[in-house]
């Protein structure tokens, strides 16, 4: 019995301490959004990049607001988010030296198949939002200052609606949890198409409105400032930044599909 | 019985020692002197202050007033309690434990390994077959003898015992009393409390009698039992004074 105890103890300690040996590979830390992570895009394109350059990309997936904060603090080497206005501000504030268009997709509005607000018939996104507000149908908002959330709020503004009341539920959550909650409460919600297509728990939710130009969702890559944070791996990050807009990168993005649907459309200049 | 120790056991002096706890005087100012190698039994009804006096003498408690003083260097002492306090280890390991702390072995055991010293102590107290047994599963009498073996290894000049046999059956009582006599025979002064008159008659050279926190008598045993000086003591010997 003593031997078994000794074996288990040594095994446990060995297991414990082996973790302290971390390989010091070439890698960069990329702060990106939960929508890109949840869609599975990174699992598809990063291996291609790593094979070509030998650089590992470690993705920290958070809301856009948090991604900007991580960038400001110098905790990430590169940013890939979808809030053009915010990105431009980020450059203007001196945290990044460059912002490039990488890819786009669109936002969609999903909701219960019965569609109590009849948004299927809407012509425009703002009209759909107005109908939801007027019918006071339950609407689940991310409420987390993410790119998606900011886009949703811009639409409410354009629709001339101040969303408030019992029907408008601000969850403070990522896209996935918001979809889970919306599915559970049979509510409308505003989501990017990529997360929606890859989402596996829609329950009664279906896609009810899409196609309006206003739902255009642009993703941008940020090259961080050497001056602000000299310790970052600028050279490696620059390779990633350039690769995204290169032919190989753009092709890798275009090739990514879920259920035979392309989720992201490369549009670098 | 003359002391076989050289040098002789240091004398213990209590000078107006009293103990007050939360406003209650548990021990009234007490002055006494214990000298020589005697078997001193402290007697009295429950709540008289016997255990308290012992703890003050041994240094476990600090008196509220007065001083406890040894003539010369305080000698090595040991104490055995009413309920033996043993560690969650084997009997043998309980003994080697004190040897690790107390590095002055008994002269007759000098040069032996700790394990050998411990085994020798177990043999002396009739417990060698229990060496590997968990100390806590031993019987009450065996545990108390183990506590005595442990005290033995400390080579004490004074051994305090606080009602060591009150929880034991007659056979165990005899074994413990024999052990106490063994200690005394090798030159250790015994200071022991008891509420058992017969035990006192068997063991005492001299007697301290307490009642209600007051030391009423300090005399030779024979004198005490034949002609006690106080009425309380008289009543106690007749078995009438219980508290």
């Amino acid at each position: 019995m003593k031997k078994v105890t000794a074996f288990i103890t040594v095994g446990a300690l060995g297991l414990t301490f082996s973790g302290t040996l971390m390989a010091a590979d070439d890698y960069i830390t990329l702060a990106s959004t939960t929508s890109t992570e949840n869609s599975g895009l990174f699992d598809a394109i990063i291996p291609t990049f790593t094979e070509e350059t030998g650089i590992e990309v470690r993705v920290v997936a958070v809301g856009t607001g948090q991604a900007f904060e991580i960038g400001r603090r110098g905790d990430a080497d590169s940013l890939l988010v979808h809030d053009t206005a915010g990105e431009e501000q980020f450059v203007a504030d001196g945290y990044a030296t460059e912002r490039l268009d990488v890819m786009y997709n669109d936002f969609v509005i999903v909701g219960p198949s019965a569609d109590p607000a009849s948004i299927r018939d809407s012509d425009t996104a703002t009209d759909a939002m107005q109908r939801i507000a007027e019918s006071e149908s339950p609407f689940a908002s991310r409420g987390d200052d993410s790119g998606t959330n900011r886009a949703e709020l811009r639409l409410w503004e354009d629709a001339g609606v101040t969303p408030q009341g019992e029907w408008y539920r601000e969850l403070g959550s990522g896209m996935g949890p918001t979809l889970n909650t919306a599915a559970g409460m049979d509510a409308y919600t505003f989501t990017d198409r990529a997360t929606w297509v890859a989402f596996k728990n829609p329950q009664d939710l279906t896609l009810l409105f899409d196609g309006d130009e206003a739902l255009f969702n642009q993703y941008g890559s940020l090259l961080l400032s050497k001056e602000r944070h000299p310790h970052l791996k600028h050279d490696l990050a620059a390779q990633w930044h350039q690769w995204l807009v290169s032919e190989q990168g753009q092709q890798a993005i275009a090739d990514y599909e879920v259920d035979a649907q392309q989720l992201f459309f490369p549009n670098a200049e | 019985m003359n002391a076989h120790h050289t040098p002789p056991v240091a004398a213990l002096e209590l000078d107006s020692v009293s103990f007050i706890h939360r406003g209650h005087t548990l021990l009234k100012p007490t002055t006494l002197r214990l000298a020589g190698c005697q078997r001193t039994l402290i007697m009295g009804p429950n709540g008289a202050g016997k255990s308290l006096l012992m703890r003050l003498a041994h240094g476990l408690l600090t008196p509220t007033n007065g001083t406890v003083r040894w003539q010369g260097e305080p000698p090595p002492q040991a104490m055995v309690f009413q309920r033996p306090v043993l560690l969650r280890r084997s009997a043998l390991d309980n003994l080697t434990f004190v040897l690790a702390i107390n590095k002055t072995p008994r002269p007759e055991l000098k040069g032996l390994s700790r394990k050998a010293q411990a085994m020798s102590a177990l043999e002396k107290f009739g417990l060698p077959h229990l060496a590997r047994r968990p100390a806590r599963v031993l019987s009450g009498g065996e545990q108390q003898r183990l506590a005595l073996a442990r005290a033995w290894l400390l080579n004490p000049q004074v051994l305090f015992l606080d009602e060591p046999t009150s929880a034991l059956d007659p056979a165990a009582i005899k074994a413990v009393e024999d052990a106490v006599l063994e200690f005394h025979h090798s030159g250790t002064r015994i200071v022991m409390t008891t509420h058992d008159l017969h035990q006192a008659r068997r063991l005492a050279n001299d007697v301290l009698f307490l009642h209600n926190g007051e030391l009423l008598e300090h005399t030779l045993a024979n004198d005490f039992f034949k002609a006690p000086a106080s009425r309380d003591a008289e009543a106690f010997i007749r078995g009438e004074l219980v508290w």
Binding site: R73, G74, D75, G176, N201 | -
Partner: protein, 234 residues
Amino acid sequence: MLTSDNAFSTALALILNMDDALISIVVLSLQVSLMAVFIASLMALPLGAALALWRFPGRNVVIVALNALMGLPPVVAGLCVYLLLSRAGPLGEWGLLFTPTAMVIAQVILVLPIIAALTRQQVEALHGEYAEQLNSLGLTRSRMIPTLLWDARFALLTVILAGFGRASAEVGAVMIVGGNIDGVTRVMTTSIVLETSKGNLPMALGLGIILLTLVTMINAIAHVIGETAKRRLG
């Protein structure tokens, strides 16, 4: 539709297929939590014992604070460690953010109060029982610490297991300081959050079942060791 059937069958399928990604997630989870408990114990056991044995002004305040910290929300601990380790923070030079080391640090902060507070309680009780005898034997309080800790070992094993339970169950701290990076800082609990956010509920629950099974196995092993030792040593 999520039924307990799919969850269990997913869990089973996961275990049987045991792909590298899953293995590395399981191994990392164990490494982080076991390491955190180990380090926390090294500090918390003597700390708890010392707190039990020494009286000093403000002792009660320390005890209350320690007890209260047992309920420290993991996400708060994570946030504090994040602010410490972030490049913009005081320890940014160390570059520890988004590494397993940061996760261990955060979990040590969560586990230490539990082990210290419960150790204090155990040692205090034991001390009450032993104090007179140990004083009589001439032990100083410092010397009593290892003696009492060893004597309380069976109860302390449970205390350490409680700490391990807390570490392996939490997600708030490791998510913030680790970043849930695939292949680097992704552990079981953060995987469950990720799969849930993808709507992949059977997978999430399956991972949950594996996590529970793992923790149960560890508790069972500890129990057997404890019981066997107890039987041999009263």
